[in-house]
Symmetry: C2
Subunit: 457 residues, 2 copies
């Protein structure tokens, strides 16, 4: 065991916690492309977005000028209940790998939602409450976002209607039950409670649902109910803004010990965790103050950055949401049943897509079996049982640390450990039993989905 | 929201973490009664216990003189991976209850075992490794102890054989899978792999097992295998010693802010958590330096302190273990299927039993439905989804805080939040669906079990 002065876990004092979120877009010379109205192909206006989203969140969504946005005191008080999250020095992992690299991870799993999703859920619930709304609607796949939103709504006394993809609803009854514990109503999607749900059920009687369908149902209920808005847990600029608390805390903790990372690694589905983690580091890069290697890790089964195209596309498969310019596989693309449900998204945050397009970050994809190998290794060495999503970052962090072992370089690696895998034991079981496979889309499959992208001049 | 100087969470620095465990027995004038050999009824000698337990653990078990026992550096390094655990000021709960009481809880659930069990598991695995053993055996009911031991054995490269009560093995496949992730072998008990298992299966072909049977199988395998010993996660003096790290951290955190608790509350099954939490406070009481109200909370379905007798009894239903003097319902007593599996034990730690008998602590019992009502309330207000076991302490903490509301007293209440309820959602589901009942043993049932206690002069 090494005996350095850096503690195993770096915690910030309450007084050191961030008081503002950081908005990367403010420091980008070339801004992310605007959302477009799918009917007119014109940039979405605040009043159009306000029919679906809370007013203050719309303002945050459209604001690409203000670098720091104050975190309201009510949200900071809630953050104090489960934040700061620890920045952990992975001494045991380093020793086991025999690497000269120094490895740190920001662990976001120590709250009941089991992930970083709570950081944005509490913000979105706060603004909904402030606007005087009765409640919010959303969709959830794996269930982490739905859980986080349930917790946030319970805290502010808001009604919370969650449409949960039917197969998850049936396969993950415990996730559903956690949401019920927080007072949310959870409806399997597609359902008979919406027009779009009834339509889909009529056309596909045996369907087990999809995230795209659940989004459409949640939006329909929000728009059609008095005092309700729709909220989303990833992809959007506002979500990356709220999640910047991860990166700001990480940077503050590193700065306390004068540590400068060389490589920053995060898993990427819609981009909420990665965008949050890298925010202040990317800010320095954008302002020419420092340089870092930043690596987005995605599943080989759903490789939007590494094998997608940078184009306008629908955010949902139901095509009710605005068009966003992003790296996408096409909203028609259906990824294989990878166990990292949180990474099964056809597109990528517009902000991250633009940063990637400008060459400011790298991307790589990893196979599911390699991911679970790293997950189990990590669990045994560092104690924490990681979520499949988070384990994508672990895989690449280990690979980079092993490269350092070969070259003898003492690089400092920071990765985001977004959550825990307590509700993913079916996936671990398949891995243990040798029943896990890797499905990688063929070039033909990707071309077919890409052919259906909307035509935008 | 109150704006006091006490932070939401008090964390200790690494340098402030305990370097020694505290052994309450050293400060007890009247010591707990010794373990007896069931055949001879004579006090168990170290060499007899050494056939079952690791040598250094036997020494700790029998040592009622040494107040502080140094925590080996290897164990302290492991503790640094998940400790110190936070002492949380329950500001939100206080506000919601409208109580003038100040409520703190020591939260032990932020590790993959989901509970405080890891504190003793890592110690027991360390001493097994130091003795040059190949591995250890144990039993697990709800699965938290088995998970903790799997993690500890994985860290030290020890083999780990867990006998899991068959009904839990089948009902909690995810717990089983977490243990497999850490490389443990998990056998449903009763099994065909032991004499006692085969005997029980022959007599009761359809049995779903019991903790007593699993203990017997684990002991048989340990005693019959070269290089193996048996380890236990509660009841024993050595376990309370290791768990004193909970109380020592709690006291150090309170002392940092000059906080003196009035009431200390913990749930009590075998006594591991409660004994650990109260250790340094009870030490002050025993030495006449301070006074505290200390309350043990047990389920009304298994009320060993409040409705049991103080007598010598078998620690296991298979009657293979030594006799211990304790508050007991009789080893023949079978508690109803309460969802707090960790509290379904017929007896109680000898040390705690003696302290209770001397009037140094109180005990109370609570009904399961009242416990889940408190659990859900707490989850919504404080964010953390508590384990059913821990929620017994929450129930009584809330009740005491409400008494303060009536009287206007600003008491300081500290309770132990031993773990999280992620693997207990079946119980929460039953509660939500109104299908949870309370089964309280009748006086006749208790008398019948008591009649079968062993006769000791």
């Amino acid at each position: 065991m090494k005996t350095e002065k850096i503690p195993y876990k770096i915690y910030l004092e309450e007084s050191e916690m961030p008081k503002s979120w950081y908005n990367m877009r403010a420091d980008m010379k070339k801004k992310p492309a605007p959302l477009l109205n799918p009917a007119t192909k014109e940039p979405m206006k605040a009043e159009e977005l306000g029919a679906v989203f809370c007013d203050e969140l719309v303002a945050q969504e459209l604001d690409d000028k203000t670098p720091y946005i104050e975190i309201p005191e009510e949200i900071r008080n809630f953050y104090k209940m489960y934040r700061p999250s620890p920045l952990v020095r992975a001494y045991c992992l380093e020793e086991k790998l025999g690497t000269p690299a120094k490895i740190y991870y920001k662990f976001e799993g120590n709250n009941t939602s089991g992930s970083h999703k709570l950081n944005s859920a509490i913000a979105q619930a706060y603004y909904a409450k402030k606007q005087g709304l009765k409640g919010v609607t959303t969709e959830t796949g794996a269930g982490q976002w739905g859980t986080a939103l349930s917790m946030a709504c319970s805290y502010f006394g808001l009604d919370c209607k969650v449409f949960m993809v039917k197969c998850s609803y049936e396969q993950k009854p415990f996730r559903r039950e956690v949401m019920r514990t927080y007072g949310a109503s959870v409806t399997p999607s597609p359902s008979e409670t919406t027009n779009v749900g009834r339509k889909i059920l009529a056309e596909h009687p045996g369907t087990t649902g999809s995230l795209g369908c659940a989004i459409s149902e949640a939006v329909e209920v929000a728009v059609g109910s008095d005092g309700y808005r729709y909220v989303l847990g990833s992809v959007l600029n506002q979500v990356l803004l709220h999640q910047s608390v991860i990166g700001l805390e990480t940077k503050a903790a590193l700065d306390k010990y004068s540590i400068k990372p060389d490589i920053i690694i995060g898993c990427a589905g819609g981009g909420s965790n990665l965008g949050g983690l890298i925010s202040p580091f990317m800010g320095e890069k954008l302002r020419g103050e420092a340089d870092y290697r930043i690596i987005a890790v995605e599943p080989a089964s759903c490789p939007s950055l590494t094998r997608g195209v940078y184009a306008y596309d629908f955010c949902d498969t139901g095509m009710v949401c605005p068009l966003a310019k992003m790296y996408t596989l096409g909203s028609d693309f259906i990824p294989s049943a990878n166990h990292a449900g949180g990474l099964r998204y056809h597109g990528m945050s517009s902000t991250l897509s633009e940063l990637y397009d400008q060459g400011l970050m790298e991307a790589t994809s990893v196979k599911q079996t390699d991911v679970f190998e790293a997950a189990e290794y990590f669990a045994r060495v560092e104690g924490i049982l990681p979520a499949p999503e988070s384990s994508h970052a672990i895989r690449v962090a280990i690979d980079e640390a092993l490269k350092c072992k070969e070259t003898g370089e003492e690089k400092t690696i920071v990765f985001g450990l977004t959550g825990t895998g307590y509700f993913d034991m079916v996936a671990y079981e398949k891995f243990h039993d040798g029943e896990m496979s890797d499905t990688i889309p063929t070039d033909e499959e990707l071309a077919a989905a890409r052919a259906k992208l909307p035509k935008i001049d």
